[in-house]
Amino acid sequence: MIELKIYTPKGIEHEEKYDSIVVYDQHSGSFGVLSGHIPVISTISNGYVCVKTGESEKFIAVKGAVFKMQNDEASIVSEEIAIGESSEDAMNKLKESYLRRLNENKERNVELALAENELKKQIKKSKAGHI
C-alpha cells in the first residue's frame, strides 16, 4: 500500500492508503506507481491523480502541484484540489471553482471602485478639510 498525503495552503487536505496511483499532467503525460516504486518526483501544472484501492478508484484534480514518492510514502503539494468520480468530474469541479473565484474578484473590483468614489464624494461634501 502507498500512503498518500495531499497538502494545500490550508494544510493536509487528503490522507489515505492506496494500492496504486496514476499521475496525469496535461503537458507531460502520465505515469503510474505501485508499492515499492523507486523514489520519484514529478510536477503537475494542470492534471489529476487516479488513486485505486481494490476495485474502487477516485480522481483528484490538482493544479500547480508537485508529486513526490519514496518508501511507499507519496505526497502532493498542490495549490488547490477537487475530488471527483471521474477525471472529467474532478477537473470540471476545479475549473468551476477557478471561474467562480475570477467572477467574484471582478465583482469585488467594481464594488471597491464604487466604494472609493463614494468615499471621495462624501469627504468632499463634509468639507472635512475646513473643520
Partner: protein, 287 residues
C-alpha cells in the same frame, strides 16, 4: 437648547463610531490570529518547494534555467498593499518607502515596470502614472488563493524569460509582532537559492518524471507562485495587525471624545437649568 441638541447628536455619532471601531478591532484581532495560523501552516509547504528545487539543481551541476540567471533589462517592482482602507499608515508608509527607493535608483518612470497586488496599490500606481504590468487590480483578499494573482505572476515570469523585464523585487510589509511591522524588499527574480537552503537538500536519489529539464521548468513557475503566496500571507498578517492597532486607537479616541462631549453636555444642561431658575426667581421677585 440648540447647543444641547447639537452636543447630544455629536455624542450619539461618536458612540456609533466607538461601536463600529470596537467591532472592527475585534474582527481584525480574530483575522490576525487566523492569518498567523495560515502562515504557520504554509511555511513548511513553501520550504518543501524550495527543497525540491534545490535538490533538483544539486543533482546536476549543468542544469540551469533563464530564471536563475540575471538579466540587464529594466527592473520590475511588485507592490503589495491592501484592498481597503481604515488601516492607519500601512499603505502610505509602504508607498513612501517605494518612492524613496525609486527616487534614489531611477530618473524616470520609463526606467522600470510596476506590478501591483491590492486595490490601493493599483490606484496608487495609476495615480503616479507608472508602467503597470497588470491591466486591472489584483485582489488581495483575506482568503488568498493562487487564482487571485497567478495571472500577474505568470506574466512577470514570461516577461522575465522574454527579456522584457529584469530583476524583479517585491515591496511589502512584514509582520514582526502586533505592534511592529517592517517594510521590506525581497528579490523574486532571478531566483537565488540561499546558502541555508543549499544545505537542506534531499539526500535521496530521485528519478524525475518526465525529465530533469521539464521538471525544473515547471518548478520555476511553482517556485514563483508559492513564494508570492508566502509573501502575500506575510503582508496580509501585517495588514490585519495594522488595522487592529488603527481601530484600537480610533476606539480609544472615540471614547475620549465621548467623555469630553458628555462633560460639555452636562455643562450646557446645567447652564440651561441655572438660566431657567434665574428666570423663575426673577419672575417671582417681580410679583
Amino acid at each position: 437648547m440648540a447647543e444641547k441638541k447639537q452636543i447630544k447628536e455629536r455624542i450619539q455619532a461618536t458612540n456609533k463610531t466607538y461601536q463600529i471601531t470596537s467591532a472592527m478591532n475585534m474582527v481584525s484581532t480574530s483575522k490576525l490570529k487566523r492569518s498567523e495560523k495560515s502562515l504557520k501552516t504554509f511555511r513548511p509547504i513553501s520550504d518543501e518547494i524550495i527543497r525540491i528545487m534545490t535538490s533538483l539543481l544539486a543533482s546536476n551541476d549543468e542544469l540551469t534555467h533563464k530564471a536563475l540567471l540575471s538579466s540587464s533589462s529594466k527592473p520590475c517592482y511588485i507592490i503589495i498593499a491592501s484592498d481597503r482602507g481604515l488601516i492607519g499608515n500601512y499603505n502610505n508608509a509602504l508607498f513612501k518607502f517605494f518612492e524613496a527607493y525609486i527616487a534614489s535608483h531611477h530618473k524616470s518612470n520609463d526606467d522600470f515596470m510596476v506590478a501591483t497586488i491590492g486595490f490601493k496599490a493599483y490606484m496608487y500606481a495609476k495615480k503616479k502614472k507608472y508602467n503597470i504590468v497588470n491591466q486591472e487590480s489584483v485582489n488581495n483578499r483575506d482568503d488568498i488563493l493562487f487564482t487571485d494573482f497567478e495571472d500577474v505572476s505568470n506574466s512577470i515570469l514570461k516577461m522575465y524569460l522574454n527579456d522584457e523585464i529584469g530583476k524583479t523585487t517585491v515591496f511589502y510589509s512584514v509582520f514582526i509582532n502586533t505592534l511592529n511591522s517592517k517594510i521590506v524588499r525581497e528579490h523574486l527574480l532571478p531566483i537565488h537559492i540561499r546558502e541555508r537552503d543549499k544545505n537542506n537538500i534531499d539526500s535521496i536519489n530521485y528519478t524525475y518524471e518526465p525529465g530533469k529539464e521539464s521538471v525544473l521548468d515547471s518548478m520555476i513557475n511553482l517556485y514563483i507562485n508559492y513564494s508570492l503566496y508566502r509573501i502575500m500571507l506575510e503582508a496580509k498578517t501585517s495588514e490585519h495587525a495594522a488595522r487592529m492597532n488603527a481601530m484600537k486607537n480610533a476606539k480609544d479616541n472615540a471614547k475620549e471624545i465621548e467623555e469630553k462631549l458628555t462633560l460639555l453636555y452636562n455643562h450646557a444642561r446645567q447652564n440651561q437649568i441655572t438660566t431657567e431658575l434665574i428666570d423663575i426667581i426673577n419672575g417671582s421677585n417681580a410679583v
